[in-house]
Amino acid sequence: MANAIERFVPDGSTVALGVALEPLIPFAAGHEIIRQGLGDLNLVGPISDSLFDQLIGAGCVRRVTAAWVGNVSEGLGHCYRRACEQAIPRALEVRDHSNFSISLALWAAAWSVPYLPTRTLLGSDIPRTNPDLAVVGDLVHVNAVRPDVAIVHVQRADEEGRAHAWGPLGVSEEAGLAADRVIVSCEELVEAEVTLSDPNRILFPETKVVAVVHEPGGAHPSPVQGYFKRDHAIYRDYAERSRSRDGFEAWLREWVLDLADRATYLQRIDVQSLRIKEHRPSAQADFGFE
């Protein structure tokens, strides 16, 4: 992971993260970004359950382009508030979207058009504060948002970058297509025969993927269908401790800065209690041709 972040996420990048909404959030990648001290990032995503808040609190972020920044089961994002209200640890530029409009911004970039028109956001004040949105008659034009890199966590991938993800996908597909490049972290690194047995389940063209990182548990505390439940208690603990700046800094040292990598992080949690044990595989699809 350290290698992938170092090579493909330079300072100042526009980075899409958390694009499947609440599940499959690449926390391991986010924590590595913090450890490497990256700065001036523009974060792009729909709802960013706690990860954006952590990156903002760590001082990595110059701009956030998102529909919602906070902690889904607990509410407010305290680092986000401190950055917007008091410029702590630094000032933050906010480009507000709705979930629908951030999806359209990514589709516009994916399709190489300057904007896409939509029926949403009419009557809202959001277009007044975001220069990427313009009310034109009874439509809103949503400007393209093109990430330099999208980082996703998936259930399994092969070494060629073919990523299998299942469950709800949020804005994963448009984020991957819009991005210049994609970093994939996965629960299982599998042979190509596994991914190619079901090409419909491959999330992005392999030509977009520049790195595949085998990172089991890399989405914790977010859930991974078939692998891990959501760790609600960790979100609650983070909400309470991040309420003050001192509390957040202590949390950051304990859970990110003082840890070498994700394997060390996982030693701190009860992985077994979160693991999904009753499996429900889908029926196979037949890709036969003669």
């Binding site: 889904v72 994002g77 949403t120 504060t129 009874d138 709800p168 996908l169 448009e174 859930p223």
Partner: protein
């Protein structure tokens, strides 16, 4: 509040279920009086029955197992733009007399006093679903005369036809359901009026905790208490009181 919110769901509705409390309201309705209600979740899911285990978020694994559709978010939004969503649920930080919601900024957006998390799918639901309701803790600082920032529009300035003139496709808010009572909007929109106050609370308490001079319906009454079926469902889907403890 959850039981009352669940009663807004009619049997056969497609319900766009926002994050947090609405997830539980859908489960209660589907279990009590609306066995044919479907839930549509912006994460990219449709269900025809509640998840069989507790949900902290709509993307938790139990909500995916048994889904009737797992897809991308823009597909769920497509259904809503087409008018296929009968009822939306939105949480909020602030609501005003015309049903406009603020979940973005308290104070000047350039130097906010409080930065709230933002729209999520809230603005989309408010603009595009056929009707919607919002759930809110009943406090003077939350039920305000006019919100300073409209994240999710209700009836704008309250004049007749405001939504149509501004091109909004959906019908607008039906009710504000609070911890103290139910505020209902008239047919065709306008200003919210107190329809009922919850058992254990008085009319005066509702008025005192509302940030504008709230009109009271001539037929105002006490909200009917939760039924056994509703309580049973709340206990089943929120066994540890994660969403319902006060």
């Amino acid at each position: 509040m959850i039981a009352v919110a669940s009663r807004e769901i009619r049997d056969g509705d497609v319900v766009f279920v926002g994050m947090r409390l609405p997830i539980l309201a859908y489960a209660v309705a589907r279990n009590a009086h609306a066995p044919n209600a479907r839930g549509l979740f912006e994460v990219g899911l449709m269900r025809d029955q509640p998840a069989s285990a507790f949900l902290g978020t709509m993307g938790d694994p139990p909500n995916v197992t048994g889904a009737v559709w797992a897809t991308r978010m823009s597909n769920a939004m497509a259904l809503m733009v087409q008018g296929c969503v009968d009822l939306g649920f939105i949480g909020g930080a602030e609501v005003d007399r015309f049903g406009n919601l603020n979940t973005s900024y308290v104070g000047d957006p350039d130097r906010p006093k409080v930065k709230l998390p933002g729209s999520g799918g809230g603005a989309d639901i408010a603009i595009l679903s056929r009707r919607w309701v919002t759930l809110m803790s009943h406090e003077k600082r939350r039920l305000v005369d006019r919100v300073s920032f409209v994240t999710s529009p209700g009836y704008g300035g309250g004049s007749p036809g405001w939504r149509k003139r501004n091109g909004l496709l959906g019908g607008g808010p039906d009710a504000i359901i609070t911890t103290l009572g139910v505020l209902r909007f008239p047919e065709g929109g306008g200003e919210a009026m107190l329809e009922s106050f919850h058992p254990g609370h008085a009319l005066g308490e509702v008025l005192d905790n509302t940030g504008w001079d709230l009109s009271v319906s001539a037929a105002v009454k006490e909200t009917s208490a939760p039924t056994d079926a509703e309580l049973e469902a709340i206990r089943r889907f929120d066994p540890e009181g994660f969403w319902t403890r006060s």
